[in-house]
Amino acid sequence: MTDKPLKSHVRPPQDTMPGGAGQGCPAPDAQTRSIWRRIMDDFADHCRARSLFVLHYCTGCGAIELPPTITSRFDMERVGITPMVTPRQADILLITGYLSLKTLKRVILSYEQMQGPKYVLGFGSCTINGGMYWNSYATMKRLDQYIPTDLFIAGCMPRPEAVQQVLLKLIEDIDAGRANAWQDYYRNYDFYLGNQQRLFGAGWNTPTDVIGEARHYGYYGPGTEGEHTRLLAEGGGSAARLAHAEYPSTALTGRIKS
């Protein structure tokens, strides 16, 4: 089993990106940014790479190797990485292993709640190709179809050293301004949403207005909207879209006293 981090193939989904880059999409590449902006961005990247918070979300069995990674023996805090409890404050979403579909929904919700720049690490073989559970009806097989993934760690399960190695690689990437997978979610939202809808049905939606955010932050691209996002609009506004209470209806009996 290799513990080597695999660079994710951050593929521009050709099928959803007609005409390539251009038309109103502020280009991410360094050339079109002003020199002042580039200096600021480089400085921000440099600082950011030295203080990273991992969302404390133990999604799968890989969570068992996180305590050793965090605590005394391997001590991730040496390199400026420590767990964070809420997605709003977190930088890294570490997907520790397989994701059942129920968890995948939560992961997408949490991912959308995280503020950019945000980084996703796929931990374990299950996030790459389904791993041990390749024939399970309950788990997803490829993480990068649903949320853009920066780096993967192969193995089942990867050792703490591998986790550290991938984090160091991520730091290096951030410092060099290469860890930009999160922008892909805005630019090709339709692609990701389409994959999500294939699993969760056409009524799938989250409370986050990703298209609005993409416009706001200047990452709106030709792949942001498409046939799948049109389904969202059909479902009504965001408040009405929140109809899904995922809980069993009996969950809590009794009304609030009035």
Partner: protein, 622 residues
Amino acid sequence: MSELDFLFAFAAVLIAGVMCCGRDGRAGWAAMAVYGAMLVAVMAAAGKVAGGSIPSALGFSVLGHKIGWRMDGLGWFFSMLTAGAAFFASWYAAGEWGRAQPGMKTQHLLLALNVAAMLLLVNAGDLLSLFIGWELVSWAAFAMMAQKGGPAQPAAMRYMIYALAGAMAVLAGIMIVHAVTGSFAYKDFAAAFGAMSSGMKWLLAGLFAAGFGVKMALMPFHLWQAAAYSETPGASSAFLNAVSARMGLFALILVLVKVMGLSALAGLHVPLIGLSAKGLLMWIAAFTMVIPTFIALMQTDARMLLTWHGIGQGGYMLLGVLVGTGLGTAGGLLHVFNYATYQMALFLAVTAVIHRTGTSDLDRLGGLITRMPWTYVTLLMGIIGLAGLPPMNGFVSKWMIYRSLLDSGSAFLLIFAFVGTLGTILSVYKLIHNIFLGRLRPQHEGVREAPWSMVAPMLALGGIGFVTGWFPGLALNLTDIAQAAMGAPELPHGLGGVATARGSLNMIWVVSILLVAIGFGAIVFYFLGNRRYEVNQLNNYAGGHFLSPQVPYQFSHEFYPGLARVIGPWYRGSIVRAEQGIGTLLDVSGDLWRGIYHLAWTPLYLLAATVIALGWAIMGGM
């Protein structure tokens, strides 16, 4: 005519004007103009008052004594507060809020009556005019509280019973003074007090302290105020809270501090426990600071929470004045001024919330910050002042009180003051959280900001609080006048604060540094980063769950349950029970007497007569 006569004339004209055309929609604005004119008149008298006192032409003769009114520095200070509070209350009520109120004419009239009564009280020239003012204030306040009816009425009744008992105590005290000195004048009383026996001193101090303490809700007479003040309609309630409650403090300062003198009180020793009368009063003030504050912590109604704090803050003022040093007296008086500004702002803000949502129940509100941002700002300024934190003025006066306690070596009282402040900070967070933060209820989606006629006075009050916090010298100039009249030591001060030998405070620096720090943060957040992007309130951290409008999430109930669990048992209300006991006793005896009076129950009388006769016969036979 002197300035004081002008004031009285204004008040009389206003009462007459409101009575004849109070129903007119413009009456509120006219009243506001008259209160503004009063305020100008008072401010104009500042120079004269600083030198001596301003006599009034008003007066009459009784029992060969000349009863009159005159304004000295202390009266001036409280007159200014009265006129100012009335100005802001009428401003607030003049616009939309007043139009939405039923019976606004009565409210205008009652406010005018209250102002007149309070002016008569604070400018009383002798003990008898003081008592006349006192009674007028009591009745006017009662009318104001009872006007709305409903749950306010029993509370007002309760107040009236306390107030009458207090007035009787005061009257008894005045009669004793008259019997001893043959005069109602302050100076005769002051001259005679030193020569009295210690028992007499105790009696008088006790009668006056209890009588006046009722009005300022000093413990253990604190039970009436919260219920009575919180149910009064908004603007009147703000007025009552800000100033009316301070009449007791005024009278205490006048009689106990100015006339009797702190040194005389300090000379009265309580046997066994080694406390003087002054120390005893200070401890009462300290308990008044702490216990009502922690009762406030447990309230679930915004107005109740605030009035309980009003009681607690009264303790700070009295404590500061009783310390008696220049710093302490100035701190106490400054706290009266500061408290009036922020408490009024807070009450008006809560009233605005009631105006828009119909409730002040902390369990039924939430998330209004997006709907009523200016009200939120006012409330935020108010609670910063109430909690005594920079940059608001509440910090200055509390700092001065702490400092004076420290200087006078009262470590335990200082700890009490800190504990009281801690309770205040905890409970005001609850106030702002439950109204403005957290999640907006679906029913409040359509709520709008209060109209400018309401927001403007609120913000103006908050602004006064902020400016006098930044430049406390402005307000200290006012307290100087009262301080001089009290005969308390002078406090040298500058525009930015005070400098004492053992520590100084310069608010210009404090606030400026704070503003620079906030400004730096604001620049980073608003200009250096991305523009903010507002998200749906259901797009929220819920452990990864999807929230729906049906899920009661992000609300709060029973703030600080751990703390409540620790201190809760202390609040099982021994005083409440004592009050209930007395009430029940009165009820039963009242019923008994009424029964005897009303019921012509002949057999009972016959039986009683027979028993008595039989007993007499047997006793006589033996």
